[in-house]
Amino acid sequence: MNKLQTFTPSPARPAPENTVGPAVWLKNNLFSTPLDTVATLLLGYILLTILPGVIDWLFLSANWTGDSQDACVNDGACWVFVSAWSQQFFYGSYPTDELWRVNLSIAMLVVIIAASYQFEKGVREKIIIPLFLLLPVISIAILDGSYLGLERVSTDLWGGFSLNVLLAAASIIVAFPLGFIWALGRRSHMPFARSISIILIEFFRGVPVLALFFMGSVMLPLFFPEGTSVDKLVRVWIVLILFMAGYMAEVFRGGFNAIPQGQYEAADSLGLSYWQKTVLIILPQVIKVSMPNILATFVMLFKNTTFLLIIGIFEMLSTTQTALSNSRWLGGHAEEGYIFVAVVFWTVCFSMSMIATNIERKLNTDHQ
């Protein structure tokens, strides 16, 4: 018998030098072709000339402490402006002693949103959803105060970023079911109901939201019986709900189209009624597939709450404009103010679009 040959593995060879390492990364990603090199150098030069100045202005030589304009002695940004006005930016002119009410409203919103992630399905359906629908009413009662025996705070004093958040949330909570009904109407076989839904959806989507706000502030008072005056904020809320419902209906329509016909047929063959079929079988699937678009629509609504400035509602951008024209702060702090508002909105909107992207990725099971 032959002696068995022993297998001696040769040691693994190192990776070829020209495929790993920072130098190769640089070559592949920044200097792969002559044109690339030119672009990199040009862009790099531009960034290097602009960025140091911007960073210096934003952070290094910025003024951070103090409580009046005189504290801004350095050349950089005057963040004192932002800190001095921060209460107005977030709460508008809401009385300082009553700020807990605004905080409570926002905390309730956050808790309910968090709870809807935590609890199981049964609790969610029976408790969280009714809570969501009640939230606008409860918040209004708390913020206004007169129904609860608290000191009444007129809606003229509501404002700031909290108003942006609460208005957007209160609008989408009501617009969600309304939009779903419009979307159902659009798919309905009843010709009259269908045409009404189409008219509503296309009207509220096709008209600039600013025109709708003007309609709300100039025309809605004419629609109510003589002598009744409806609060400006409520009128704006109605407009936002209708506008949002139009967009939501269109989002839901896309969701409906993504549900396979078999789901309807299966529900029919189980003998479910129309509403059982719609609420138990179709709605959960529609919400699931349209979640990224629902979030995108909500981001749009949230950004559009700044448009309220034009009809004189003191949302965040509006309080910024007021602060900028204040006689004790006439040093031209527009950049600081706008950058601060931009950062606040950007943080909220960007996190929501990140969530939307994640959901989309989870839902997308295609092979790429």
């Binding site: 990603n29 690339d36 862009l43 003589e226 003998g271 700044t306 909105f345 950007w346 960007f350």
Partner: protein, 395 residues
């Protein structure tokens, strides 16, 4: 229905369980409800208008406006009618929307394609651009450009200038204007002829390629026709144009074309905002093309540029076009933010000043809504026609 199956055909369905009957009842209820709703609204409105002494009807359109408008594309005097303010405003809306649509498409496509660049720096810049400007409210961007950037420009005397022909200062951007002399009509005609010739040439070249496979250098022919014909006409007619340069006279510039800062700020904000959304759509569109398409094209020996132009982009357009449609529509709707900085578009002039002076809210708001509605319809029709051309043809 819980009727046993063998009896279903014989036993009559209860009246209310018949879907047809139900539909009639539901719709009748809806109709009655809506009828009551509109009746209340209209009677309330009429009562309110009478109580407040508001006139109705469109007679106000022939009344004298009496106010000046910052910028007008057609001749306008304060003695003109309210009807004319409507036209002036509408044209200004068309102007800023068209500028926005063209520029945002360019910016969007450049940034969307830049996302796929081999260059890390370019990729990052595209990502940062999209994620930054998409998530900041448009009104804030308008304010930023108008109040923070453009109002920080130097005064007229210290204008930034480019070759003593283009001036930029706090009052606006001043460009030289090419003024036509007698004979300039021939040059315009030459441009029209060149465009028609290009369209014909493209059709001919496409048909010839389909029949014989021979390619025609279309790009050079197009450029040659577009530049050559007008140039020949220009030289033949003895150069019938002269430049009207803006010049500092007194406190301000005279002559040339003036672009007011309101227009600049609004157009800039709309372009950058919509451009970010379009870039995102282009990115999604290019990513939606399966990788196998690129690989197949590469294995056929196509060049990278050909792969992009002939394989990837035509397929990506199917995803991009519907988004472009809605982005263009929201750009037109968002141009109403003009009213925040006073750019005299339809919204500022008509819903702003004219409404304040006449008080006829219902007519004015509905006329304005109708105009935006029609603009959006036109965009939608145009984009749907375009979509038909790029849509996937399944056989």
């Amino acid at each position: 229905m819980n009727v046993p199956q063998n009896q279903a055909s014989t036993k009559k369905v209860a009246f209310f369980n018949n879907p047809a009957n139900r539909a009639v009842i539901y719709q009748a209820l809806l109709m009655v409800g809506l009828g009551y709703f509109f009746y209340t609204i209209i009677s309330n409105t009429l009562a309110n208008m009478e109580a407040r002494g508001i006139k109705s009807g469109f007679d106000f359109l022939w009344g004298t406006a009496g106010f000046d408008i910052l910028m007008s594309l057609i001749p306008y005097e304060p003695t003109d009618t309210y009807g004319r303010t409507f036209i002036v405003g509408m044209l200004n809306t068309v102007l800023v929307s068209s500028i926005g649509i063209v520029l945002s498409t360019v910016v969007g496509f450049v940034m969307g394609v830049a996302y796929f660049s081999h260059n890390w720096l370019i990729r990052k810049i595209a990502t940062v651009y999209v994620e930054t400007f998409r998530n900041i409210p448009l009104l804030l961007q308008v304010f930023f450009w108008y109040f923070a950037v453009l109002s920080a420009l130097p005064s007229a005397r210290q204008s930034l200038s480019l070759g003593e022909a283009i001036f930029l200062n706090v009052r606006g951007l001043y460009l030289p204007d090419a003024v036509g002399e007698p004979g300039s009509g021939v040059v315009y005609a030459a441009i029209a002829v060149a465009i028609a010739a290009i369209a014909l040439l493209r059709r001919w070249a496409k048909r010839r390629q389909a029949l014989t496979g021979k390619q025609f250098p279309l790009l050079y022919a197009t450029l040659g026709l577009l530049l050559g014909l007008p140039l020949i006409a220009f030289l033949l007619m003895g150069m019938p144009f002269h430049w009207d340069y803006p010049a500092l006279k007194g406190f301000n510039f005279q002559g040339g074309i003036t672009i007011i800062p309101e227009l600049m700020a609004l157009a800039l904000a709309l372009t950058i905002y919509a451009g970010a959304f379009i870039a995102e759509a282009v990115r999604a569109g290019v990513q939606s093309v399966p990788h196998g398409q690129t690989e197949a094209a590469r294995s056929l020996g196509m060049k990278e540029k050909q792969i992009m132009n002939l394989i990837v982009v035509p397929q990506a357009m199917r995803v991009i076009t519907p988004v472009l449609n809605s982005e263009y529509q929201s750009l037109v709707k968002n141009s109403t933010l003009s009213t925040a900085i006073g750019y005299p578009d339809l919204f500022t002039v008509f819903v702003g000043t004219t409404l304040n002076q006449t008080g006829q809210a219902i007519e004015i708001v509905f006329m304005t809504m109708a105009v935006y509605f029609v603009f959006n319809m036109l965009i939608s029709v145009a984009m749907n026609l375009f979509n038909k051309r790029v849509a996937l043809v399944t056989k």
